[in-house]
């Protein structure tokens, strides 16, 4: 069970109040991209054993989308941030690097 802090409404809620929305920061291919690139944009997703950047929605709460970084291996949550950015904030990346340096995640 994950305990998630919603960055929009501030609730610290349990996982069942949220809905997972898949991999984050996927860049759209095209217009004018090759079929292979566009198919990759549509279908290819990472499935790491370790740090994963994800989209989540506070489905039963404030209803807002946001981003979360967590480890699929240990369920450690490295941080949450707003939906309207194309890359994670540096402090969360630093936390991920620190966890990697300590060997907690791959």
């Amino acid at each position: 069970m994950l305990l998630i802090d919603c960055p929009c409404c501030g609730v610290s809620g349990e996982e069942t109040e949220f809905a997972a929305g898949g991999e984050a920061h996927i860049v759209r291919a095209g217009p004018g991209s090759s079929d292979a690139d566009f198919a990759s944009y549509l279908f290819d997703r990472k499935n790491p054993r370790g740090v994963h950047f994800e989209r989540w929605r506070h489905a039963f709460g404030c209803g807002k989308w946001f981003h979360m970084v967590r480890s699929t291996q240990t369920l450690e949550v490295f941080g949450v941030y707003k939906a309207d950015v194309t890359s994670p904030p540096q402090d969360i990346l630093d936390r991920v690097e620190a966890a990697r340096a300590e060997g907690r995640v791959k």
């Binding site: 929009c8 409404c9 609730v11 809620g13 069942t16 109040e17 039963f60 709460g61 404030c62």
Partner: protein, 193 residues
């Protein structure tokens, strides 16, 4: 168990179930005027318009006043007697003309329940993933969350004995009524809150 007729053709305005030795009382109000307002809640003109139609100040995040509920970072639910929703939505529309907003009469979208009694927070804690300890959830606090499987919101409107008001989508009202009755049964309270 009392039976509740939820048919739209013959709406029952108030249903009451006294669940016995727990001292819990469960009320349902199927018809309540409700207006959803989506707007920038930090805007002074929005606060003024809300004050004008409800008499209430803007609630803080996850708070409820007597007739204004915080629903999201950009959404309020205003409560009023049934039948007045259209007029309130129109008044908000006039007051906020030119400002980005949405005010809609949604009186028929949700049903309202009231759960009253010392064990009320234990009943809710059985179905909602919310810390309902007395020092964590008090009068005026609101959570929009789930109860059992369904989306719902509840807020505490009274203390000693605790009073919680609960809203859910009207099509789920029968489910929630039965869930609340089931969860209020005598002898089923963990007795920790």
């Amino acid at each position: 168990m009392s039976e509740l007729d939820l048919s739209l053709a013959r709406p029952i305005l108030e249903g009451v179930s006294d669940t016995g030795a727990n001292g819990l009382k469960l009320f349902v109000q199927l018809l309540r005027g409700m207006v959803t307002l989506r707007a920038d809640l930090s805007s002074p003109s929005v606060a003024a318009a809300v004050k004008d139609v409800t008499g209430s100040d803007m609630p803080d995040v996850r708070k409820a006043t007597e007739n204004v509920l915080w629903m999201s970072t950009d959404e309020l639910l205003l409560l009023m007697p049934y039948g007045e929703g259209g007029a309130v939505a129109a008044k908000l529309g006039e007051a906020l003309a030119g400002e980005h907003h949405l005010a809609v009469d949604v009186s028929d979208a949700r049903s309202l329940f009231k759960l009253e009694g010392g064990a009320a927070r234990e009943v809710l804690a059985k179905g909602a993933p919310v810390d309902l300890a007395r020092d964590k959830f008090a009068v005026g606090d609101l959570r929009r969350t789930r109860i059992s499987h369904i989306a719902a919101a509840f807020w505490q409107s009274g203390a000693e004995p605790d009073v919680f008001e609960i809203i859910c989508f009207r099509s789920y009202a029968n489910y929630l009524w039965e869930w609340l009755e089931e969860s209020s049964r005598e002898g089923s309270m963990p007795g920790i809150l």
